[in-house]
């Protein structure tokens, strides 16, 4: 098993601007998938790749806090969404293994909007000129911010808003950590993300409980 130093030096070797493309695909998948398991997996993938990309701006032990906060958020949201799903399946007698994927018009609408976003970003290449932020990361951060705003436009569901707000904060992390890497700013951003994680997981439960036929029994 590698030591912590070996692991950190290994992650530094992974750091490559080519990771931006798979990260964008993860973001797109996060916005399109209607199944919360797949969407959360895409969210975790985005956070892992974002943590590696942040190595360009800060030391690895701080950049990889994206893995820690992202992991904690994903676990909280997973447990909340699973709780809602399990109780609903139990009360409606649907077995846990039976897929319930629905290709409804809103899935196609999300797909269309994400494609429109990707094409627009590819053609116009917008980016906020933040000082000290490399151009490729500036474009990536701008895409994350736009994707966050688009995610919040996809309806008032807690998980989608959680993704949207988290993408906005991730974009802000790139812009701010390019300017300043201190324990205050890194801690502040991580603290905000964790607070957001707590809040969204609570909202997932209380919003999802509406789909339970007998909420008082749960």
């Amino acid at each position: 098993m590698p030591t912590l130093d070996q692991f950190l030096s290994f992650t530094q070797r992974l750091n490559n601007p080519a990771l931006i493309l798979p990260s964008i695909l993860f973001v797109a998948a996060m916005l399109i998938f209607s199944d919360w398991r797949w969407a959360l997996a895409a969210f975790a993938g985005t956070k892992v790749l974002a943590g590696i990309l942040l190595l360009q701006l800060m030391p690895p032990e701080w950049a990889l806090q994206q893995w820690v906060t992202g992991g904690l958020m994903a676990i909280m949201w997973f447990m909340a969404a699973r709780r809602v799903d399990i109780v609903r399946r139990k009360q409606t007698n649907v077995p846990w293994w039976k897929p319930e994927w629905r290709y409804n018009p809103s899935t196609w609408m999300r797909l269309a909007f994400v494609l429109l976003l990707l094409v627009s970003v590819y053609i116009t290449r917008p980016y906020l000129p933040v000082p000290k932020l490399p151009a490729d990361l500036a474009r990536y951060a701008t895409f994350l911010a736009l994707a966050g705003l688009v995610a919040m436009g996809f309806g008032d569901r807690p998980l989608r808003w959680g993704f949207g707000l988290s993408l906005w904060l991730l974009a802000a992390s790139f812009a701010l950590h390019a300017l300043q890497v201190t324990v205050d700013t890194v801690g502040l951003m991580a603290g905000m993300e964790l607070l957001l994680g707590f809040a969204i997981s609570y909202f997932i439960i209380v919003d999802g409980a509406r789909s339970w036929p007998h909420p008082e029994e749960a």
Binding site: P158, L165, A175, L176, A199, V206
Partner: protein, 464 residues
Amino acid sequence: MSLLVALLLALLGLSLLAGILRHIPLLSGAIAAAGLGWLAWRLWQLPTLETSTFLRRVIFLERSNTLFGFTFQLTPLARSPILLILFWGALFALVATLSRTERSFIPTTPLLIAALTLFLSSAPLLWAPFWLMVAAILMGVMAQGNRPRPARAALRTLLAPILAFPFFLFAAWVFSQSAVAADNPRLWNNAWKALIVGMFILLSPVPLHGWITALGESASPFAGAFLVGVWQIAIYAFLRNLLFTYPSITDFVDPGVALPWIAVIQMLWAGVFMFGSQRLGQLWGYLLLWTYGAAFLAWGLTGELGSEAIFWLFMVTPLVLTLTAAGLQSIFHRFGENPAYQTLHGATERLPLSSLGFIIGGLFLLGWPLGALFPIRLATFWVAEYRAGDVFLWVMLALALALLGVIRAVRGLARPIQDVTLQREPRIIAWTIGILLAAGSLIALNPGLLTPIAEQMLVWFNML
């Protein structure tokens, strides 16, 4: 111990106690209301420059606290808005308890006030936005309440602080680099623009107003009114602090011009949608937006730094808001949350005082005579007519549309009864509404009653 720590400990203790006793709603509410009222009274009595005793401990009023190298202090400037928020909390806790609102409201109130206290006591561009985000999360929890309901209001409440946060942090970094102004004027200008964008987002102008209207539809009436009110007080104090600390903002935007127009658009938008409302909660949400815009109009027209009239407005508004919310809460108990107008059969017959409280409260919020807000609304309209004729005309249009919206709601409430088993309103609600009506009328007839308090608050507010 500093004043800030003493206040925070008292608020956390109060929240804990109210939370433990939440299964006895009347006791929990009474303790929270009494505790918040007592804290407001003690804060009002404290001097500004000496030591004092608070809960048998010596309090050093000018002492600050440090966290991660940053200073927090409950300055006299922060004292006025915190005092107002404590007063709002006490009044809302009392009336909400009497109106049997959901039990999560009471324990969350002191916690939210504690978060807003930290927000108003910290450095404006780094820690303040963070504590505002904490406050927004607590606002979301309060909006959601303790029952399954759409999370729309709670989610939208998170939007403004999180969107604004990066802009403040960027501005804070640039302003901390003293050489940037000379070396990179473009970056310096961008920092000012970022600061203005952040301020703009926190003002929740149309189309970022969605959280206010969602609170009307998807939260309890007390939670909606309380959250919109305390948010407005906190943001007013914060933005005014920014205008004091960074006066160069006025080189980029003139608050005296921008604020009235932001307010007018909010009021006009609210008026149009009040007129078209089909549901009581929808009407309530847009009424809150109208009230929110009217307060910013009063601020914008009285100069960028405001005056004691704003404090007077913030002192009186909760009386009218609790009156309206108590009436609406009682109607919701009988007809369900956010009922459509066509389902309100027999409301005025079986719930006469609740219906009256909601309708009269709505009219009073718009500035109807004999309501507590009448003097300030009249003064605002006069100033608008004198200083900005076009603003005045648009405001009158917004007022007319809002009035028509309330009249449509009256028609809905006056539908004849269909279900003869519909229960009458509880006596305690009728008494609560009656007392609030009397208190509002007393203030409307004697507006000078609160002027000394407003003047003292302004004195504190101007102490830097």
